[in-house]
Assembly symmetry: C2
Homo-oligomer: 335 residues x 2
DNA sequence: TACCTTTGCGCAACCGATTGTGCAAAATAA
DNA sequence: TTATTTTGCACAATCGGTTGCGCAAAGGTA
């Protein structure tokens, strides 16, 4: 019935005491400020009876602290980020923080906008998977504790927690090469992201280390979507089809596989595929997909931990967590 | 460099004017309050120069409005809810609202806790996929605009937007029956949710309408997780194995299929399967899975629209959106 | 009785904005 | 010149809490 909860002042008026006293009782400072036991009782009962809930907004303003963390990610519908969000939510809940969610759609404008909005809302900290390669617009944010997740900028003094994308991509590529593949195409995601760049680097480095020439069109595609995987694969098949595809995330892999099926090609006989981002269903596809697993839960938890360390003024070092190759049936050995 | 953004008062002091004037200029009320053009210019320049961003917390308190919506869902890592979250985020961003995200893990305690927290933060509205069958704890929340998504309580005067779960389940079951299946087992999710109950109802109703007896253990399982699908399927296979499985969401389907594979059984020759919740990868599994598609984007958008109608005092009617059966290869015809 | 200590609590400022009202100075009219 | 209107802006309350400090009344001591 109460329109919006009772206030401390209303309780005070009911009991004919000051709001100061009510506040002190409800904050457990009754003893400290010599509030009589009788008054304390009365206050507690009234608060209980009317389901008193302190107005966080007022608290935020007074204490200059919102107990809120901004989570800025490119795509919550991408299971990788959804899982990250979940572990972060859980970890933050344990620490009495809530999440303001921003989905940037990997759009720089939307990202900047989101950061502005979160600043205005005075979040206590930021967890962000940034778009772009330079991160120049983060320099004006150095005063608010920020931890990058999944993507980062090494030239900025902002800690990050991410998969060792280079290593993961290198191993995946090496795996393909050792299986005898020479003509491998990498379908990449958004070029303007560090995770993509590192993966591409791992790919090219492995190719080079094994003496394989990098051809034109050996890295194709332009974002982390299913649609991109799909269209890139269609194009690839129409030309000089590679024997193996390295999909730089789970969405791209789905799209590529859809295209392969549509074309009536078989995996892995006609084309092999390996994907970044392990997902439960990769075990069930036809055939099960060999993937590079990212330690999602570890990333989420470590990021939250780092953020809290940062907020407490501790020194925080960036973390690159090791990926793991999960071998299944989507890559054929050739000779 | 600024520790946390400049305030209206600081601008006022710099220009030797009052914060009132600054506020009025920045709110475009200069003309209305007869601020001179010169003063207006000075204020605008100062604001621009120092990247003035109004403190939303102060605004919230003063205007009694937070431009924040609470999104309360059971599991953000479930792609169904992740997609819902994404469409909601986009729709809300267009309307200048942000999302406070709560993942309840389908736990009543966590849900209540989340609602309390969101109340304290004075969200302008609530989008929630509730746990439980009765929703009694929502009665004390009637004063804050709320729209249920995916799940709901018809006895409460709170509008909802959801799939017509009964119809979807009925059609799926009927499809199995028409394919000749007689021994069908339904692996359900959390019994204490309306969506689950409606789906189970659709299942049993279809069975009854087609004169098929309901046996013991014809509905098994207890939550919407992969683990549940997996363990339920293992148990089912060890006894009197049904010819078809109806998985009540995508996660359960994944788990069940994993189990089927582990057991060395074939889909659909040994056991057919049909799932709720269309997902892109269901097209790629071995075999592609026949599913009931929920109109996720429509639900998300309609829910946000309903919430705004509610906040504007309009009359809002509950919406049950039609599902669609997507036929693939995971159900075998038998005779 | 006079003085000191303890008890119990309230006053008022503050956080950063918005907003109704008031009021001097300047401009205009009579 | 005087009265009136217009211009240009500031004061102070308000939102709902927290917190440093002050102070009267009660109790204790000499």
């Amino acid at each position: 019935m109460s329109t919006s909860g009772i206030t401390i002042k209303q309780i005070a008026d009911m009991l004919n005491i000051s709001s100061t006293t009510v506040s002190r009782v409800l904050n457990g400072r009754a003893r400290q400020y010599r509030i009589s036991e009788r008054t304390e009782q009365l206050v507690r009962e009234a608060a209980e009876k009317h389901h008193f809930q302190p107005n966080q907004i007022a608290l935020n303003l007074r204490l200059n602290k919102t107990n809120t963390i901004g989570l800025v990610i490119p795509d919550i519908s991408n299971p990788f980020f959804a899982n990250l969000a979940r572990t972060a939510e859980t970890a933050l809940r344990l620490r009495d923080k809530m999440i303001l969610l921003c989905d940037t759609n990997d759009d720089t404008v939307r990202e900047k906008e989101s950061l502005q909005l979160l600043m205005g809302r005075k979040v206590d900290g930021l967890l962000v998977a940034p778009v772009g390669l330079s991160g120049s617009h983060f320099e004006s944010f150095t005063h608010i504790p920020t931890v990058f997740i999944d993507r980062y900028f090494t030239e900025l003094p902002i800690p990050f927690v991410a998969t060792d994308n280079f290593q993961g991509a290198y191993e995946a590529t090496e795996y393909l090469i050792k299986k005898g593949h020479r003509h491998i195409t990498c379908i990449q995601g958004l070029e303007l992201t560090v995770s993509n760049r590192e993966r591409v680097k791992g790919f090219t480095e492995a190719m080079k280390d094994h003496g394989l020439p990098m051809l034109d069109d050996q890295v194709v595609g332009d974002d982390f979507s299913i649609a991109n995987g799909h269209s890139a694969m269609l194009k690839l098949a129409s030309k000089n089809r590679p024997t193996a595809i390295f999909a730089l995330n789970n969405q791209i892999a789905i799209g590529a596989m859809q295209a392969i099926h549509e074309l009536g090609l078989r995996i892995p006989q006609d084309v092999s595929i390996i994907s970044f981002d392990e997902q439960p269903y990769f075990e069930l596809t036809a055939p099960p997909v060999t993937t590079v697993r990212q330690p999602v839960a570890e990333i989420g938890e470590a990021a939250v931990q780092s953020l809290f360390d940062l907020m407490e003024g501790k020194n925080v070092v960036p973390k690159l967590l090791p990926p793991a190759l999960i071998e299944r049936k989507s890559v054929m050995g050739i000779d």
